[in-house]
Structures are given as C-alpha cells and as structure tokens.
Amino acid sequence: MKVTLTVNGRAADLDVDDPDMPLLYALRDGLALRGPRFGCGLAQCGACTVHVDGKAVRSCVYPLRSVGKGKVTTLEGLGTSAHPHPLQQAFIDEQAVQCGYCINGMIMQAKALLDSTPHPTEGEIKDALARNLCRCGTHLRIVRAVKRAARVA
C-alpha cells in the first residue's frame, strides 16, 4: 500500500507492506534518514525519538498508521551541520558528544521540553531525559548543553 508521510516539511510517498510497521523503519529504511536511530526497538532508550505534531514520540514503537496526517520532524529538520539549531549548537559548544549515537534522542527530547518549558530547572531537564540512555556516559554534558540552549534562547 501507498503511504504519504510529511517529514520535515516535505511530503514523501512510501510503499508499505505493513501499516503497523513502526515509523522508525519507514524513516530509516524507506527514506534513508539517519537522525532517528535504532537503539532498542522497545521504547527503552530514546535513540529513535522524533516529533509528531510537535510531540516527542518513540518512533520504534509508533505505528505508521497512527501518524496519519501528522507532521513528522526529525533531527534533520532542526538545523544542518553548517547552520545548526541553537540546541544543536549548544551540544557542540559543550562538547557533549562522545560516540553521538544517543544524541538524536537527547536533542529531540530536550527540544520538546524547551518548547513547553523554555527555562527548565536542572531537575526538569533530568526528568525529561530520564528515559534516554547514553552508554558513553556523557550525561552531565548533555544536561549542561540543554541548560546552555535554554540560556541563549
């Protein structure tokens, strides 16, 4: 079947075998996007986080059929390497990246937080990121990056 997704402001047609396929696989295998990442496939790590209509969701368990006409935003939709979004820039400035694999989830989750709470406390940042895993252990710098982004916003 044909499915049309709106991703980062562009419409994309996809041939889909299974409407229950989670969004992540459509974005990665179908659209060759690599902001959203596969980390667990079980809503445990947050690496796959994207926004649907501005809400952060775990795309690894979010069925395509629930997306409907929803607007999907991925990390690629925030900014580019040359023109990063302030939140992305804050991660660069704090040198918060180690391997970088968790960073998509950290930024997309933090973006959702800052959209609703522009000046969060450290506790609010940690609560928001509590379900996101980072195996490299760069947590403290991630928190600093989100604080910095909130400051410059």
């Binding site: 075998d17 996007l33 690599r34 667990c40 970088g100 490299c136 403290l140």
Partner: protein, 775 residues
Amino acid sequence: MNSMDDSDVQVINVSRRAFLGAISAVGLVLVVGCSRRDTASADPPKYGADSMPHGWVDNPLAFVAIAADGTVTVVCHRSEMGQGVRTSLPMVVADELEADWRRVQVQQAPGDEQRFGNQDTDGSRSVRHFFAPMRRCGAAARTMLEQAAAAHWGVPSGEVTAVNHEVVHGPTNRRIGYGELAVAASHLKVPAGDTLRLKAPSQFRYIGKGEVRLVDGPDIVAGRGMYGIDTVLDDMLFAVVARPPVYGGKVGSYDAAAALKVPGVVKVVEIPGTPPPSEFQPLGGVAVIARNTWAAIQGRQALKITWQDGPNVVYDSKAYRATLEQAARTPGEVVRNQGDVPAAMARAARRIEAEYYIPHMAQTPMEPPAATARIVDGLCVIWTATQAPQATRDRVSKRLAMPSENVTVNVTLLGGGFGRKSKPDYVVEAALLSREMKGVPVKVTWTREDDVQHGYYHTVSVEHLEAGLDAAGKPVAWLHRSVAPSIRSIFGPDPRHEAPFERGMGLVNVPFGIANLRVENPAAEAHTRIGWYRSVSNIPHAFAIQSFVAELAAAAGRDPKDYLLELIGPAQRVDPRTMGDSWNYTESPERYPFDTGRLRRVIETVSREAGWGRKLPPGQGLGIAAHYSFVTYVAAVVQVAVSGKGELTIPRIDVALDCGPQVNPERVRTQIEGACVMGVSNALASEITFKAGRVEQSNFNDYQVARIDAAPREIRVHLIASDFDVPLGGVGEPGVPPIAPALCNAIFAATGKRIRQLPIRDQLAAHGSQPAANG
C-alpha cells in the same frame, strides 16, 4: 529507495578507495603510498606499537594529501567510537605539519594494515602507540613542503620555515601556500624518520591544548553522522538472524513457511555455525532477508526452529557461581609467590577473609552490531562499524575463500564499541548473506535482543582474598585466588586459566609491600563466548583488591586512604616482571615500570581535591580506590548518599589520573567522565545471567545501565600535568576499574554495609543508613 537527501546516496556509494583516487585526480599531491614495517620476526623483544600486527607506519604518503586549494586531508586509521580519535590523531599530524586546523579534513582509512599500520582500536592504545608516528608523519610532510619552497625560490632550505599553512622565507619575508607547493613536494623523497626536526612542546599549536573540537560533532548533532547501521544502497536487502540460544548449539530443523508469508520477506536461509571455539566467526542460525528491517524482524518471529543445544545447555549462573566459589576456596595454579604465605598466616595476629563476585556483563554499545556487504565481480565491499578493520577483512576473506585484497572494509563511525565491535562475527554474517543473494547488498542488523543474548560477555568471577595482619593491623601475608573463565577460550581449546594478559590486569601486579604474597588462579571452564569489555579483567581484580584493602583498614581501625598509601609504601619504580607480570600491556618494562610514586600521587591528589576526611551529613560517605591499568595511574573518591529506605545517590565523583602527557586533554576528561558512569553502571545494575545455557536478559528493560538519574551529579577530573618526554599511558579504559570499589567503600562509610557482590541492585534496600564505626 526514496531518499530524503540525495547526497546520502552519493556518499555511501563511493568506496573509500575510489574517494582517495578521486581526490588525487583533482590535483592532490601526496597520494597514497605504501610502507610496511614488518613485525613478524621478533629477535630482540618488541614492545608497544612494534609488537602489534603490522606495527606502525609514519609515511606521510599514506596519511596526508594536500589539494591545490590548500585543503589538507589527513587519514585516520583507527576507529572512532566516542573517544575522539578522528580528532586527536589528525590533530597531531596537523600540528607537526604546521597546518591550519580549519583547513584540515579527516578521511577514514579502510582496513589495510600493510598501508597504515595496526588498526585494532582497543587496549587504550591509539594515541599511546601512534602519537610518535603521527608526529613524524606531519613533520616529514612539513619538511617536504619546506624543501619544495626552498627549491622554488632557489634559497637554502635553512632559510625557510613552515608557519600556519604556508612556508616563509625569513630574509625576504616571501610566502607561499601549501596548496601551491603540494605538487612539487609530492615528488620529493620522504625524509628518514631520524633526520626529522620535531617541534618542541612549546611550539605545539593544538597538542596538549584541548581546544580543538570534535571533527564529527557538527554532523552528529545534525543527524549526518554515518554509523555502521546507516548504510543504504540501491536495491539493498535487510536481514536479521535467529541464532542458537546456547553457545555451540545448532539448528536441528526449521520451518520457514510462515516467515515467507510475511509481506516484505524475500528469503530465508540457514547460516552454518562454527563449533566452539568459534573465535570471530558467526554463531550460525537462520537468516530472514527482507525488503526492510521490520519485515525481517517480523519474519524471524514467524520462524519455527528446533535447536540442538549441545553441552553448554547445562550453563546455569547460580550453579556456576557455586562452582567458582568452590574453586576459589581450594588451592590452584600459583601465578605469583613470594615469601611463605602459610607460615606468615599461621603467625599472624588476625586473619581476615573475603570473597567477591562480579557477574557477566555485556558491552551494549548504543548502536548494536550491524554491517552491510556487497559482492560484485569477485570483489566484496563492506561498510561497518568495527574496532578491528583488518581482522574483519581477514575473517571475511577467509570465510568467503576470497583473496584479502578483494575485500574492502569501509569503516563508519561506531555508536560505541567497548570491545564488542572488536569481534567481527556480524560482518561475516553480512558477507555470507550477500553471497547467498548473488552479491546484492545485504545489511545485517542485530536487534538489542540479539546483542544482549548472543554477545561476547565480560567474564564472571569469584575473587577470594585472605590476609594475615600483625598486632598493629599491618598485613604480613596476602593470598588472592581469582577464578574466571578466560577470553582465550574463544580462540582455542579452553585453557581454563587466566591468560598472562588477564593476570597482568591487576591480579598479579599488586603494588603492595607485603613480604609474603601469593596469587593463585584455580581453573574455570567457559560455557559462553567470553570477550573484552572496556577495562576487561581489571574490573573484577580492582573491585576485589580495592574493596579488601578498605576492609583491612576497617579491621585495623585505620583511615582507608592512609592505609592504602602505607601498603603501597615509598615511591619506587618496580619492574613488572618481578611481580609476575610478563605482559605489561605489551609495553617495555624499562620504559614503563610500575611507578608506585605515580600511584601515590594520584591518591594524594584525589584525596586533597575531594576533601577527603571532610564532614558529611548522616547517611553520606566517601570511598577511595586506586588502580593502575593500561600503563596509567588512576584514583577515585566517590561520595554517596544512602537514604533511610536504602536509595543510593552519588553527589560527586573525583578522579585523579596520570596518563603521562595529555595529547587532547578535553577528550581525556570526557573519557574519564564516561568511565565514571560506566563504572557506576557496572556497580549498580548490570548483570547477564544464564539458565539452561540461555541468557535470561533481553533488552534494556532487564539488562540495565545507569540512566541520567543514577549518574553522578558531579564529576571532577584532575589531570596530573606531565612533560612530553614521559611515555604516554592509555586513557579509554583505566578510568573504569576504581569506580565500583570506591563506590562500595563509600557505601560502607555511609552505612556500615559491605558490598561484596555486584551489581548492588537492591542490596541496600533492607539496610537504610547507619553510620559506620570506621570510615
């Protein structure tokens, strides 16, 4: 394939080899050369990089290319997995080259050790082994540019100097850019290594400063990082594999009918396994190949497979622990012995005994293993996240019965490695499946369940310690029995004893001035694949020894820090061989003795910086531990708070580290910060257990690692300053081992409860906080 971004496809379709060729076609000068340092015949013993397969290469023709517009491309031949090596090593080349970092690009090398030297990104040795060769590489290229400029102006080469991407003629102040000199320079002879003029450290622009940012940072934060799991090629297929749940098991029979009905599934094939010892070859099983990863996963779920489990079906972690404990209470193979331990124990005023248990753990890098392979016209091209590009190439060529030069291994970014990606079994799977599909590109993705259940696990061990104390509480006898299955069991018949490299990770090389000291290693059989996990055997050895020292201090009524320093004794440089360590992280025992003065210094530094002895509220405590590993000295002070309900938080960790000179101090700090969190994960939560030969955990819900709420609230890293003439130590791993014992020592100080078994998990639940008598 409907790509959202056309440039993706382009990037992926160009092999590294073609890319290097392409730049040379547009006016690149220093093109790829070939240099080989053969380390096969080893008459005088070889150490460090010399001792590694294919040694080192410092030829600028292999590592540096300069385009007509002045863009400098530096090849990084080690794998980037978060340690920052794609920044640090090219930065060293750029510094000696007098290149302007803003005009430097980094190109990842494919697996080719003949050309680049050893590429095994493990053992905390990328910068340790390649700092000097990369300096020479940059200095040689700089010298060639200076010679070319001198020839261009017809002046003596002594009158010209390379400064920040151009060469200057001093007497006339004429200047010429690197881009203009590149072609002429490329025709000159590469100067011999011993004729090179290296910079004095005071002239370093980037080395030792920590101001150069990660080269991949901007791409990673924008979703442009290219990891092993990201490869997308035209007409590619996606596969997952159902592997035998028991190590050494195999497929009895299977029924693929239902799997083949899953929409999107293309084919189901059996992969023959490799009976133990299976080294880096696949476990075998049944592969489902599909049009996307999701269909492959659904197809796998629909498979009906009957497994033949084989003898390891008996593996049961509870029973095995009892076996290890029994072994640890019985004399075993003696691996270090000095004085007369039984006699000294008999005379001792007091005897103390403790046993520690450290379970299997899994590396669980955030990016699970994944690889893509394509075979066209007898050439196999791989894209993967690997710590061992040459080993990968060798294993693929062996399994496909293809000459090694017909296999290209393109190395992507690694979403974490921690030792898992040193073993390329997953890459061989991809190559076999591509061959099965007549060369069509196939990507194999390991789901998290695959990663947790079919890994190469950190060993499991029981560490049994006994000490005899004199009347003043000072140890006069020390007995340590370590029992753990060995990594060597994946390479050959199970030796059932720790290898010299495992014993050298803090078991035999205990730096204590105790006259009667004996270390034994009773036998233990492996029932699963045992593999390297960041810091390896240092984890159990440091946990046991540093916990036990604190236990002895408590028994003697002494301050644990003072007691530890006293045990280490006065500063001296000890030949590791005299401690039963013939391995010494492959480094020369003369250049890298065990320097107890440096160990003392990190302990003294961290206690001062952490405010050792400061007064804390009830339920809080400080713990200390120190450990030497990867020729680096580390000490940690952990502060814990334990609530009345037994909930643990970690307000702060201080770490002091002496790794010799720090080439990229900012990356050293981040590695230590990460090591603190990983050490906390090991201590608090992570455990792999087996029942009926099968791993009982499956994903991050039951294999747990520290999340942001469990991570320390504050980490302070104190780097010991060092001159550049001191030999470099490792950085990636040595931060981990002292964290768990320091944490448990802090728990003792806070509550009086001694943790002897990891992970801590709910061991504090029953306890709550009550101040300890000592500590």
